[in-house]
Symmetry: C2
Subunit: 440 residues, 2 copies
């Protein structure tokens, strides 16, 4: 049977690896007081299409029993978690406590052509903090710190989080005497695909800059640093503007707060602008070492107008982690858990007549939190051990008989010892599945 392209599914050992990732993310988010929410999969199409640029990617829903020729249900599957979250905040504004910190780990759908790291169904993990009317800047710092900590504990290749600030860019351009800053940002954003001199050309031909302005814009985009040293390099370009000062101070604070965490490199990278127009300050992108071709795996920023109901506005700052974008390419390379089951112990079966004895041992282990299964059939013990081996279950328990006491065998080392079901426990690291040493 052919797999459905763009709809990744995992075998149990891969799913166990995903669960380890998701549990870690949830743990970090909750340690920082982020509340879980889930929104429905479907939103009214007019909500989904407010950002015109991605309308082609929406899956529209139609009830099968609707008459032929009848219109669609007017609903589509959400393609991100930001649009539904903005709707949820407006819908429940009277019942939520602001500032509202939430995390949301859900599937999203896009009807685009599948390719490596791009799927039609995928999982995102978003954190956002939203306030009513005013959101102090320290929340930008918090969101960066929380996501950096979450990323740092992931058992995946090294991550590099690039941070920039729209106020910094905007202030720099204004300080250069450029009025049309948006078109400059759009052109500079092409530095991924175009060489610098081509960008300088475009800035002159399409945005009306003179050569010096264009070269300074390029020079700014080339600044990057793992700490606040970028500030002096920007100052050296000789541009000044109040908004530039604010942007420099904000960016320095974010970079310093989120740095020094194992496994995640934080850099101020002044080339990052993010395509979406709604960002107004801090912006984030993240690359995974060896997988730079996937694009950013974790992106976001500050948006001062996430949602508005006419009376109040709800500014926010958030980051979205592409769980599937990170995980699927890794799993395709053999990244998985060391077990295909949660079980730490297989209780062997002497014969069908004594199944109740094996069940009783299993119940005693489970009562103390040890995931345990009982052998399916009373085959020879060698076959039962291989049953455990094929699933990655580390321990096989042999129930007591008239002649022998209860014994437990570590099937990796072959060590076998007497044990009592009322007090034996595996070492903590064997209790639950772990990520397997990676195949390379």
């Amino acid at each position: 049977m052919a797999k459905l392209s763009g709809f990744p599914e995992f075998l149990p050992a891969g799913r166990n690896a995903e669960l380890i990732l998701l549990d870690h993310l949830r743990r970090v988010f909750e340690l920082y007081g982020f509340a879980s929410i889930e929104t429905r999969a479907a939103e009214p199409l007019d909500e989904l299409l407010r950002k015109g640029e991605i309308d082609k990617e929406v899956y529209v829903l139609r009830r099968l029993q609707a008459d032929a020729g009848a219109s669609d249900s007017g609903m589509g599957l959400h393609y991100d978690l930001t649009v539904p979250f903005a709707r949820y905040v407006l819908e429940n504004a009277g019942k939520l406590e602001f500032p509202f910190r939430r995390y949301q780990i859900q599937k999203v759908w896009r009807g685009e052509r599948p390719q490596e790291g791009r799927f039609r169904e995928f999982t995102q993990a978003d954190i956002d903090i939203v306030a009513k009317d005013e959101l102090p800047f320290h929340f930008d710092v918090e969101v960066a710190r929380v996501m950096a900590e979450a990323l740092s504990g992931l058992p995946v290749p090294a991550l590099r989080m690039q941070v920039n600030n729209r106020k910094l860019l905007e202030g720099f351009y204004l300080g250069l005497g450029i009025a049309e800053t948006a078109s400059v940002m759009r052109i500079v954003d092409k530095l991924d695909k175009l060489p610098g001199d081509k960008v300088v050309e475009l800035l002159q031909s399409d945005a009306g800059l003179d050569l010096e302005q264009a070269q300074k814009c390029l020079a700014l985009a080339e600044v990057s640093a793992p700490d606040a040293s970028f500030v002096d390099r920007v100052r050296a370009l000789g541009v000044s503007h109040e908004l530039l000062d604010t942007g420099l101070a904000e960016l320095a604070e974010v970079v310093e707060a989120a740095s020094g965490i194992d496994g995640v490199e934080i850099v101020a990278d002044l080339r990052i602008a993010r395509g979406l127009d709604y960002y107004t300050g801090t912006v984030f992108e993240t690359q995974m070492a060896g997988y730079e071709h996937l694009g950013s795996v974790c992106s976001g920023g500050r948006y001062d107008q996430l949602a508005s109901d006419g009376k109040n506005t709800y500014p926010g700052v958030g980051i979205s982690l592409g769980v599937s974008r990170i995980l699927v390419p890794l799993i395709n390379k053999g990244f998985e858990a060391d077990r295909s089951v949660p079980s730490a112990v297989l209780v062997a079966l002497i014969d069908e007549e004594t199944r109740a004895d094996s069940n009783a041992v299993a119940q005693q282990l489970r009562a103390r939190g040890i995931p345990t299964e009982v052998a399916a059939t009373a085959q020879k013990f060698g076959k039962q051990i291989r049953y455990a081996e094929r699933r990655g279950i580390p321990y096989v328990w042999f129930p007591a008989t008239a002649e022998t006491p209860n014994q437990v065998k570590d099937i990796r080392s072959g060590d076998q010892a007497d044990a009592r079901p009322e007090d034996w426990a595996p070492p903590a690291e064997d209790l639950h599945p772990r990520i397997k040493e990676q195949h390379q």
Copy 2:
């Protein structure tokens, strides 16, 4: 903004209650060695429509950019987790270890008219055990036991699990000399809506039974017992058949293995047949006390032909718990967690200049697994305490100053004491959200 009918969403305190339920289910399923899998939300329409009876309820997907008049994508959203699971087993048969125990907790979608306990989007939690070619009966017993344990720990009204066995019914009818057993089962299944004498009438007029046969069928359906005593009552009806013997023995074993668990009543109820044709032995239904009008909240059974690829068949036994069916009506009545956030502690803020000190305290608590947030603004302490109160956060931490040591206040009792961020911890029961005492 109007809520979308049939697509329930929870406020954070309700979602925390759902998480408590889902975490409990997962814990029990994993203790018994059930592996987690997730399948994609969309299946090819021909897979979904193999069971003709529910074709009206499927949501079909169409890509918005498909040309007007272009056909649908040929995919629809899954309406249960059994059809996708059968497809997953066939697709991965060569890579799975059988017998394969899996649990699956996911959203499903049905385009039907919303009403209490019936939704267009809802969450199910399924457990199944599937084997290749042959699945020993003891797995029926295991599945009943696991789900009964999972249900027993749920903080919800009392649950009553009704068990029956298709072999028992089939054998009884055959022993009465009835050849067309399927039509008898269909008519007896109407006992929920029709009185007994009307069913006896229908059995004669529509299924061609004589009066005595019809009355015995009714008498069988009226048997129910919380233990194996039902066996003698069936025997007393004077019918005998080999298949009846097997069914009686199987049902007695399931009822005895799953009974004696707190909060879940197990009964052999010989009226239960389950509408679906694919069940071949054990069948389950479950009612929630005070919510019988919702219908069964947890159903399933044994199916000897869940999936087949021509070469092998994959018999299975499983139960599906309607998480949303249980939870949404309860939450509408005020069932929720005691907090809208995961935080156990709010660290107060003396002024913005000392935010780093408050952050440092929070980091020390988080490093020891205590969910902690820092106050959003340096309001008066009374306002910061109310900030915690509104979110249900039980403890407020006051950072040390030059004059005062670190102190922590239980805002429920008002008790305040000196504490050190490196070793203070809340009582275990305050660490995470709990279900609130219920409003009635």
